[in-house]
Symmetry: C2
Subunit: 198 residues, 2 copies
Amino acid sequence: MSLVPKDDKVLQEILQAAREIFSKFGLKKSTMEDVARSIGKGKSTLYYYYSGKNELFEAVIKDELDKHIKNMQRAISNASGPLAKLKALFLERLELKKQLLNLGQVVQQDFFDNFETLLNIKKELEITQVGFVKEIVREGIEGGEFRNLSEEDITLFSYWVVAGFGGLDHPVYTSDCLKHSDVFTEKVTGFILYGLKK
Amino acid sequence: MSLVPKDDKVLQEILQAAREIFSKFGLKKSTMEDVARSIGKGKSTLYYYYSGKNELFEAVIKDELDKHIKNMQRAISNASGPLAKLKALFLERLELKKQLLNLGQVVQQDFFDNFETLLNIKKELEITQVGFVKEIVREGIEGGEFRNLSEEDITLFSYWVVAGFGGLDHPVYTSDCLKHSDVFTEKVTGFILYGLKK
DNA sequence: GACTATTTGACAAAATTAGTCTAATAATCT
DNA sequence: AGATTATTAGACTAATTTTGTCAAATAGTC
C-alpha cells in the first residue's frame, strides 16, 4: 500500500498521526498538512511514503481492519464452546464498528464502497468473518450442540450471520442499541443460534 | 453586531448553530456552509444577518462572554463573605476558560488579540472582573477581614488578580491543573488572599 | 395588489489544499 | 574523504473549496 516501506518507524508515525487527524476532523476536513505538522515533518515526506491522501486514508482503514481481524481471531481462540465464541466474535465486530465511526463518518456503506481498494478490503473482511463463523458452527456440530448441517448449509448460514453484522453498520440502528450491548448481544446471539438448535 | 436584528428567532438559531460548529471544528475548519446546512438554510441567509464569518464568530464569542459575566455576577451575589465570593468568581472564570477552549482553539491570547472588536470585548471583560474583585475586597475591608487599603491600592490589587486570571489562559498551564480544580482553586485563592490578611 | 423583508442560487474572487519536482540534506558504503 | 543512495523539504502550480456579492425569487404585511 505504501510506496516505499523502508523506514517502518516513519511509516507507523504517519499512520498513527493520520488515524488521529482523520478521527478528529473526518477525511474531508483533514489536510495532509495537518498530518505532517502533527509529526513535525514536511508534507512531501508523506507523499514519499503514500501516493496520495486517499491512499493514506485507505492504509489507515486497512491497518485498523487488520488489527480487528487479529482481535477477532484472538477472542475466538480464547473462548470455550461455540456459544462463547460466537458472542466473542459479535462483540469484537461491534468494536470494529465503533472504531470506524471514530474515523470520522466513514461508516456509511455508500462512502465505504467508493474506494475500490476499500471494497476489496471489505470483501476480505467478509470472507474472514464467514470463515470464523463456519469454524464455530462446525465445532458446535462436532460437539453435538448444533444439528447436523451440510457444508453447503454451513456456508449459507455463515453468510447470513455476517450479512447481519454488515446490517449493523447501517444508520438505521441507533447508538441506543449499542449502549445496551450486553442485552443486545444476548438477543442477537440468541437469534443466530435459534436456527441451529437440535 | 448583527446587521438586521429583526428576526430574533433566526438570529438565535444561527448563533447556536455557529457555536456548535465552531466548537466542533474550530474557526478555520468551519465553513459558513456548515453552519447554514445545520439549520437547513442557505448560506446567503447568514450573510443577511452577519456581514462575514469573522463577524459571526465575534458574535458567538461576545454572546458567550455576556453569559459568563452574568454567571459571575450571580455567583458572587449568592456567596457569603469575601472569601466565598472570590472563590466563586475564580471558579466561574475557570468555567469561562473551558468554554473558550471549547470554541475551537481560540483561547490563545495572540489569536484573541487579532480581532479588534474582540480586543474591546476583552477589555470590557477585564474591567468587569476588576470591578467584581474590588467589590469583594471592599466588603472584606469593611467586614474587618482584610487590612485597610486605599482606593488606589485596591485598584492595583484587583488588576493584579485579574492579570492572574488572564495568565491562566496561556498554554503554559496544562489541563492537569484544571483536573484538580478544588485543590487548585484553594491554592490560588490562598495566594490571592495572602496579600490582604491583617 | 403594492411594498417590504427574507431567503436563495448562481457566480466570481480569494483562499486553501493536493500533488509535483528539484534541490538540499542525511545516511550508507567504499 | 568521496560516491552513491535514501529521505526530506521548499517552492510552486493546478485543482478545489470557501467567502462574499448580488439579483431574483419568495414570503410576509398592509
